[in-house]
């Protein structure tokens, strides 16, 4: 009796489930559900969590991570990895800071220089990986070291501060007195990223390149050019994140972004992308970054030590991928 009723409900739900799955709506269903659970939990556990102030606080805190993770998403879709994002972030900020404060360039030009150096670092990654045929792990590991070294050299290892007021104003600008500038930047960049992956031929081609490089090549796709573009974009985005950080702190730190590459990879993976390539989306990555941000913020509010926070985030990474693996296995 009860079995029959369950089966009847199952039959009615199944087509809806299939409909949603075919449209990719469930691809990040698990992570979204996880995020909702976290938000509900912290809302109950802390009076302060679900306030406008705190929500934008979380968004601001993850903005740097989110920008870097956006580039990382593109790279991971192509079955690559970029370990250099944290160092390139520091290098971009350092070059902008030095050209302004030491070389006396106008601030706008210093910003262009900072972004440019990020793109160049990414381009070098891309060239090493495609033309030099280095594994992405090795090429970007080398860049992780080299870019950090350059960042220290440029700044002589010291923070550089003192930027024009307008630059600080941008850093502290809040739309409607609540939405910080960095959140606006993240929004715009994610919209661009979403559009690129969905509606641009080269963006869509990334899934084929990552899914099966040989098939992509034999389908006439310009694999080499696409990969170079993707690593360059990742470098550029790291530099953007670096400048967002400088604007917020009003200071260039040569040690900024140490270990950020691991957070970025975590955000992408928690969102549901596969390190094997061919799977991933900017929405999923944003959800992944939000999960990390909400966890850190919520655990802080609950006075959980940062050591325990690391343990929890480790558990979340393993758990997310474990769930994903189970889901794929049952789907078979």
């Amino acid at each position: 009796m009860a079995d029959a009723r369950v089966a009847a409900v199952g039959r009615r739900v199944a087509p809806v489930w299939r409909w949603a799955r075919e449209r990719g709506l469930l691809e990040s269903g698990g992570p979204v559900l996880g995020l909702i659970v976290l938000v509900v939990f912290f809302t109950v556990a802390s009076d302060f969590f679900l306030t406008v102030r705190n929500i934008f606080n979380v968004l601001q805190q993850i903005s740097v991570l989110a920008i870097v993770a956006l580039g990382q998403t593109l790279v991971i879709i192509t079955a690559g990895i970029d370990l250099s994002v944290g160092s390139v972030l520091a290098l971009g900020g350092a070059v902008a800071g030095w050209t302004f404060a030491e070389a006396g360039w106008p601030m706008w030009l210093a910003i262009v220089a900072g972004l440019g150096i990020g793109a160049v670092a990414g381009l070098v990654n891309g060239l090493l990986i495609t033309l030099g045929r280095l594994p992405p792990f090795i090429a970007t590991l080398a860049m992780l070291s080299a870019a950090r070294g350059f960042a220290q050299l440029v700044t002589s290892g010291e923070p550089i501060s003192g930027y024009p007021n307008w630059f600080q104003d941008v850093g502290s600008y809040e739309l409607f007195n609540s939405v910080p500038a960095s959140v606006l930047i993240v929004t715009v960049l994610y919209l661009l990223g979403w559009f690129y992956l969905r509606y641009r031929a080269s963006g869509r081609a990334l899934y084929a390149v990552g899914g099966n490089e040989e098939v992509a090549r034999l389908s006439g796709l310009p694999n080499t050019r696409l990969k170079i573009q993707v690593y360059t974009a990742a470098g550029l985005l790291s530099a953007v994140a670096g400048l967002v950080l400088v604007a917020r702190l009003n200071s260039v730190q040569p040690t900024a972004g140490i270990g950020l590459e691991l957070d970025a990879i975590a955000a992408v993976v928690i969102g549901g992308a596969s390190l094997a390539g061919g799977i991933g989306s900017v929405v999923a990555t944003l959800v992944g970054a939000l999960i990390i941000g909400v966890l850190r913020n919520g655990l802080n509010l609950l006075n959980v030590s940062s050591f325990w926070q690391q343990v929890v985030i480790g558990g979340v990474i393993a758990g997310a991928v474990l769930l994903d693996t189970l889901r794929k296995r049952t789907r078979l």
Binding site: E22, R23, R198, Y199, R200, A201, S202, R204, A205, Y207, A208, G211, N212, E214, V215, A216, R217, L218, S219, G220, L221, P222, G278, I279
Partner: protein, 502 residues
């Protein structure tokens, strides 16, 4: 659910499977199938793709659990939970795709997991001696110390059989063992199967090539839609009857008469060479012409195709396409010039398996589908539905390409090129692992392309196919151009004689 009564079954010799059933979401892959294999016989299992052959062999080899049914081995219950269990019980499986580890030596591959040791370190002399002995048993003459990557497909298959025998396999499942073998290598494999049969090894032999049944089988069973639909106790079954049982209707396996050649020269290849693969190949291809390329495996056929397509560029020679000099440096350039390749391995070269059918179809046309640089999902969907209909591809546009049957996968690999209106289409083994119905559809498509004025090159190990389809057959032998035979003068003996260099 009613368990099948197993009490009255007599203890049999060899493997006895009763009532095997397996359901996957939305499909019954195997339904109430009985199968028994005695030692010293070769039971051929035939069926179209999706008929349940792989499911059956996966259950027997322990890779999949059955939903219902029982198996016994020499009268004892046999219920493997993993391939390791099956191997321990004496049942080995040789997969269609190689499972050798390319970086390890042949000897290590043969004795993987059981390397002889002395004082805690691998005893290489003993290892190589044991491997040599096992390889001799299967008539394989390779040096056990070379890495497996250097073996030909045929040699690899021998090594895998040697490995199974070293594990005391008494029943071997061969899944399409000749799929990537040339005629001569296939014959060597048949001889090995016959020898082992004499020594008392039982075989379950899964194949698409109907002629092989009479060649080595002792009994035949046919699966269709997961059910056992026909069986014969002797292998001399007329091919037409086998085909009828497989497809459930009459299909005359005739090659459509190719349409008349339309004259103009489309492709001219002069003294094309690639070191270590082929040398000094020259031919022309006219509009509407179908040129067959035959030869043994390793004769340089696929390499020639890949060179024309720019996948592995040639290092000498000249090519003209449509009257213009054409230099194939990379596939993207070939596609832009109007020359496309339907590659040999659809799973690793033709399709991104996890992506939906529609995205695979759109792959070569992404730039063309965009308006002002923006892709329109509606145009993509239309492209997909158009070609799914035109080629009668059985599958939904949103379905991952890897979940289609072999024949439908192959149709997708072909269909993805057609929106680009290619001038020359090269088919490399277009019907390998493709069932009879889809095969006919592919033949008709090839003719249709030629009729529209496309120049077609067909590479195939299936001699009747390459002869039946083509206006002319170019035969390669050991990387050299052994000859070109006109339609009418080409027959299997002549082609084979040229291919063998006789």
């Amino acid at each position: 659910m009613g368990a099948r009564a197993g009490s009255e079954e007599p203890p049999g010799r060899g493997l006895v499977c009763q009532g095997l059933t397996k359901r996957f979401p939305g499909v019954v892959a195997l339904q109430d199938v009985d199968l028994d294999v005695d030692y010293g016989e070769v039971v051929c299992v035939l069926g179209e793709n999706g008929a349940g052959k792989s499911t059956l062999s996966n259950i027997i080899s322990g890779a999949l659990p059955q939903d219902a049914g029982t198996m016994s081995l020499d009268g004892d219950p046999y219920a493997p939970h993993s391939p390791a269990d099956a191997i321990a019980a004496g049942i080995g499986m040789i997969h269609q795709e190689t499972t050798l580890l390319p970086e390890l030596s042949v000897a290590e591959n043969v004795l993987l997991g059981r390397l002889p040791e002395r004082a805690g370190v691998v005893d290489w002399r003993e290892l190589n001696a044991r491997a040599r002995e096992l390889l001799a048993r299967v008539g394989c003459k390779v040096n056990p110390q070379v890495p497996a990557a250097r073996l030909s497909v045929a040699q690899g298959r021998q090594v895998e059989i040697a490995r199974a025998l070293s594990l005391d396999a008494r029943i071997l499942i061969l899944d399409e063992p000749t799929a990537s073998l040339g005629a001569e290598e296939a014959e060597t494999l048949f001889q090995l199967v016959r020898d082992l049969k004499e020594q008392g090894v039982g075989f379950i032999y899964i194949s698409h090539r109907l002629s092989e049944v009479a060649e080595i089988g002792t009994r035949v069973i046919v699966l269709r839609d997961g059910k056992r639909v026909a069986e014969w106790d002797q292998p001399d079954v007329p091919v037409a009857e086998l085909v009828r049982a497989m497809v459930g209707r009459d299909v005359e396996q005739v090659y459509p008469e190719p349409p008349p050649v339309q004259g103009e020269e489309l492709l001219r290849v002069e003294l094309l060479s690639r070191r270590g693969a082929f040398s000094d190949v020259s031919f022309t291809l006219r509009r509407g012409e179908i040129l067959g390329i035959a030869g043994l495996v390793g004769a340089g056929r696929s390499e020639l195709a890949r060179a024309l397509f720019g996948a592995e560029p040639a290092d000498a020679g000249r090519i003209w396409l449509d009257g213009k000099p054409y230099e194939a440096r990379k596939p993207a350039a070939a596609v832009a010039a109007g020359l496309v390749l339907v590659p040999e391995e659809r799973k690793t070269q033709g399709l991104v398996l996890h992506l939906p059918v529609e995205e695979n179809l759109a792959l070569p046309s992404l730039q063309q589908l965009a308006v002002a640089g923006i892709l329109r999902p509606a145009a993509e969907r239309k492209l997909a539905s158009t070609w799914i209909n035109r080629l009668a591809i059985r599958g939904r546009p949103q379905q991952p390409a890897g979940t289609l049957s072999g024949g439908n996968q192959q149709k997708v690999v072909i269909a993805k090129w057609l929106p680009r209106n290619p001038k020359v289409v090269i088919f490399d083994e277009p019907t390998r692992g493709v069932d009879v119905g889809a095969r006919q559809a592919i033949y008709e498509l090839i003719d249709e392309l030629a009729d529209q004025g496309v120049g077609v090159i067909v590479i195939s190990s299936d001699l009747p196919e390459v002869i039946g389809l083509s206006h002319r057959v170019l035969v390669l032998s050991g990387g050299h151009q052994a000859g070109v035979l006109e339609r009418g003068e080409a027959d299997q003996e002549k082609v084979m004689a040229l291919a063998l260099g006789a």
